[in-house]
Symmetry: C2
Subunit: 143 residues, 2 copies
């Protein structure tokens, strides 16, 4: 199910016995509009722009809950030592981190699919999650 509106999120939450609250909704909408790669602190900053009373611990709790429900995904991109979060996308994708500008590109495409089938064919390993982080220099910075 696509989770676009508060009522959709509420359905998913209630289906698992959880409630829709304003911290949860705000965290969810920040993640959706940002398109991913946010730290908990960055999320809290945006959430607090809408409601300054919301504590960062509720942001962490919402993120943990959303991860359990497969709504978001945590990754360690190596930009710093903190975790980053993005909306769980059904399509496979991978991250390209530029060592110079720090930018993170988000690529979908055949590559992750190729990796997945390679693993099944050559390694007898049922891959559930493929976390590919490529570090290097992006085309903008290479010039």
């Amino acid at each position: 199910m696509a989770v676009d509106a508060p009522s959709d999120l509420a359905v998913v939450l209630r289906g698992h016995g959880y409630r829709l609250t304003s911290p949860r909704w705000l965290v969810w909408s920040v993640l959706r509009s940002a398109g991913g790669h946010l730290t908990a602190e960055e999320i809290a900053l945006e959430v607090n722009a809408a409601d300054p009373t919301i504590n960062i611990s509720s942001v962490y709790r919402a993120l943990t809950l959303f991860e359990d429900l497969d709504l978001v995904r945590e990754s360690h991109l190596g930009i710093d030592d903190s975790a980053r979060w993005e909306v769980a996308h059904p399509d496979d994708h991978f991250h390209m981190v530029c060592r110079q500008c720090g930018g993170v590109d988000h690529h979908e495409g055949e590559l992750v699919d190729q990796i997945r089938s390679h693993l099944g064919d050559h390694h007898d390993f049922r891959a559930e999650n493929i976390d590919l982080v490529v570090t290097g220099v992006c085309s903008d910075c290479a010039n």
Copy 2:
């Protein structure tokens, strides 16, 4: 250069203005004999078996230094929240983490090379480091 003996490590270190010390040598030999995937705490434990006076902060300092010299590599395998270290291997490889037994397999082969050339061909991105962590169920646990 292969760094196998204390004298070899000393050459690398002195070549960059650093000294060979016993904490550094012990951290290096633990990493070499373990074949990778150790946390700083695990390294400190083994180092302390040889010399209980060595502090974990020296382990961290040695690891950071070795990383700067491209002798070791840090990775976040998602087993827990702490970093893990392995000897930097010139050959490309990737990690397969089993969700059930927690085992980490270490695979060399054509896969990472294929990824690297795909990135050059399709994405105009000069990949320096390719960090591929595959989570799933290994063949032992699948039965």
